[in-house]
Amino acid sequence: MIKIKPNEIKSVAQYIYDISGIFLDSNKTYLFETRLSTVAEELGCSTFSELYAKARSDSSKNIERKIIDAISTNETLFFRDKGPFELLQHKLLPEIIDARTAKSSGLKSSIKIWSAASSTGQELYSIAIVIKELISDLSRFNFKLLGTDISDNAIAQASYGKYNKFEIERGLPKAQLQRYFTPAGEFWKIKDEIRAMVNFRKLNLMAPFGGLGKFDIIFCRNVAIYFTLEDRKKLFNKLADSLADDGFLVIGSTESLTGVSPRFVPKRHLRSIFYQKK
């Protein structure tokens, strides 16, 4: 493993921040070393300065993509933390459906849900499964489920919908595994009926959200923790702009918006919290 030198930390950290918005302070040097060493070695670099120089001069941005893939955390599960999905099933979806059906006057109501840091797709597929199980006649609604992530690899894996048994074992009950996945050797692949409900695309949450429109429900869990307070403020301000006035925001169960965004108020439902615009 390549060691990062004290004089390299600042410029490499700044570079990672510039390309991804992920803020690594100097006490997280182990993250540079464990996650970026393989990229450096693969490119024949023996120091992080070399990797940095190579990445900066690579106009194809391939190295930048490799670095983003390596540095972003992909620890995610189907139904990670049951709370948000129970919340979605028992509170958020029924309320949004009621509100949109009342407004639609016979037309198909459109309901937009966004998994803002979708990683390898487990969260958005879990949302799709909840919807599928809650609503008997999906054709009555026009569901638009979007997952975005900064990592090309994560988006590619999410789009393919194939997971190894370790990724799938935790969190997903056996009945749902068999209902919504097809076994493929050591892997499981999401069935087309669920796959067809979702879309994935690449997005850096630090960049403008141009063209995404307004969402009824936004899941933005466990990603803002990697940003500085200033960037978190900007992010949740943009999320408020992207959320319908009666829409819902769900953040990670150990995250807080106190001192981050005055535009949201927390509300409790059973063991979970969700946010609405003031």
């Binding site: 048994k165 935790r170 918006l257 106190t258």
Partner: protein, 189 residues
Amino acid sequence: MNTLSILVVDDDPVIRRLLEQRLKKAHYDVDVAEDGYQAEKLLQQRRFDIVLTDLMMPGGIGGIEVLEIAKEIDQRTEVILITAHSSVDSAVEAMKKGAVDYLEKPINFDELFLRLEKIINVKSLLRNARDIHEAMDATEHAASETIQNLEIMAAKLQQRLDMVENELRAEGVDPETRINKALDILAGI
């Protein structure tokens, strides 16, 4: 010391006995079945870490079926198939169905023990990862309870402070009344 439990399934009594003896000598916890039916019965009775089964056995339950039964009962059970050289293709098919490995006859015991050690290593890594995940879940759960309570409390306080501010700024009300109303709100916190 090996704590791994192994079920040996082989219709050939010589191979069965040999495997049982060698594995027991290496301190594995070993049980044997002389055909697929007996294997199925044992698999339903108790959990095994590893099933070591002959691919070709007489009767309706061959190695592939033993594999399917073992995986159906417990995904975590690893299955190694023992095959004749001529049936390597079916062994590869079996791996597609979830077998972890296969061994060709005649059994090379050094090879078998190497494979078993590899499985032990993977299993202990998985165990380790699971323990860490469980510890993380417990910590996360406790932290989220605290954070969510604070989040709601902070929002309530903010709401009160906004009310206090409104009272203090109220126009056309004399200062003392404004202060008293604000104090009443603060007293209610």
